[in-house]
Point group: C2
Chain length 295, copies 2
């Protein structure tokens, strides 16, 4: 029996509809919409596309969005000033700094400027620390990892006591996903490029999260039969037959994996739509908190 | 062949001698000793003993130490004021808040008062976040986990690519040890009370760190032959034959484990002496930094 597909688009659509309802309630109370401020530096086409997608998603749910778009030649000070302006802007509740920024910008220093109350990406070091710590809560959980956790929960799989394997240890996906799975009482193994015999480690996984950034790297026969497979990868590969000449595939060999896994996400249409949805959810949350503080 | 004993006391003694030399150099440059400020609230005998041990260790290496000792009835504000006084005191380079504090004190809020430049315990959430993140560095690494890493390195075992298993996920030991092992390129599994079949998971470990706080919980036959076993536990158990009536044992059944492991720490005399040594090392580092800033 082939794996059940975890339909990230459908889940995202449902959640965005709910967010839209809450946004209406917020507007009714506050007299203004929740606001997302986006800082984009340079003219990378992929980044520009992501920013457009975020703006459209905001519009769909009624969130006000504003972008500070700076040229690739912008100085560190100009970038930080743009972020500070959003920090001080009462109509902006969440700030998203689109990465990567040009090489001459110190991303770490820039991201540290984002006020914690507006860190809707949840990637400030203090939020990562609080995410991992027992008995502490970050001001926001990071978007993609939160989306991953929701998709796992959608399958009905029990996380507590399960063996979870995370491939990749990036600051924005692998590491926080591992921390969130541990908080949900899974036994978590963190794998990476230096892991010996990755296939053997993957074989233990009741829940596998692949966030390694290598096209179709995880093979179907590595999987434990019935596993929940969440594929965070989005890798462009040549596709001469398509109009664009390329297509996106995940980190998992989907066709081979679906005959072994119990549940699996597709790429595209899996984690991607969830990331943007969680950004909207965090922006709404930031706005609701600002109202609670003001009242 | 029984396991080789990793002698934490000997390693600590060697490192403290080195720290003592560096302290002399510091005094020669700065005209004053590095300073550690300790905040102790209440009259818990174990806490009082730890504070005395820290003071004596400071004396041994030439670090100046000062304690603010508050009664168990101290208010949150009084505790935070004591910490703030150390933050402002130029003769104090590192601050240690002895835990646990009385129940009516909000430990999280109190610990957040410790200035990052003086967080020689390395337990501020931002330091934990930075510890886990790729390409980032905390201002200090936490004492016990740093000591654990040094003891592993003492064995000559290769961490990169090894399977490491950490039992326990506390904020001050289990979690940061797991992050440090992952940063050192081990494949790390985080286990805890909800882990199913812990014996099976432990069996994979080339490197095992037990920080679960249960006397002699890890059995000898759980271990992979030749494993490096670091026992962070320190549990008092009844010992009618001894004068005090109790003795300390680790989280690992030492006698059974030493016939299977390749290297193993003893309790006491393993990780304990390293914790205090790393606190001294961090205080020295804080003092050296303050000098670098001043010059």
């Amino acid at each position: 029996m082939p794996a059940e597909i975890i339909d990230g688009r459908a889940v995202a659509k449902r959640l965005q509809a709910e967010i839209g309802e809450h946004v209406k309630d917020f507007v009714a109370s506050a007299g203004a919409a929740p606001g997302l401020g986006v800082v984009l530096v340079g003219d990378d086409p992929a980044s520009a596309m992501y920013v457009r997608m975020k703006r459209r998603a905001c519009e769909r749910v009624g969130i006000h969005s504003e972008a500070h778009i700076l040229p690739a030649s912008a100085t560190q000070q100009e970038v930080e000033s743009a972020i500070r302006a959003f920090n001080c802007d009462q109509s902006i509740h969440g700030i998203l700094v689109q990465l990567p920024m040009p090489d001459h910008i110190d991303e770490e220093a820039a991201l540290n400027v984002v006020g914690l109350a507006k860190d809707v990406d949840g990637i400030h070091p203090v939020n990562l620390g609080l995410l991992g710590m027992r008995g502490r809560e970050p001001s926001f959980t990071p978007a993609t990892p939160t989306g991953v956790m929701i998709l796992i929960n959608e399958t009905g799989a029990q996380i507590e006591g399960a063996e979870a394997v995370v491939i990749g240890r990036s600051n924005i996906v692998g590491l926080p996903v591992a921390l969130m799975l541990a908080n949900a009482n899974a036994t978590v193994t963190i794998c990476h490029s230096r892991t010996r015999d990755l296939a053997k480690v993957v074989k233990r996984a009741d829940i596998l999260v692949a966030a390694v950034g290598r096209a179709e790297y995880v093979q179907g026969d590595w999987l434990k039969p019935g596993a929940v497979v969440i594929d965070v990868g989005s890798n462009s590969v040549p596709a001469p037959e398509s109009e664009k000449g390329y297509r996106y595939v995940g980190d998992v060999d989907f066709e081979a994996a679906r005959s072994v896994a119990g549940h699996i996400t597709k790429v595209p249409g899996g984690v991607g739509p969830m990331t943007i949805t969680m950004l909207l959810a965090n922006t709404l949350k930031a706005a609701q908190r600002s109202l609670a503080v003001a009242s």
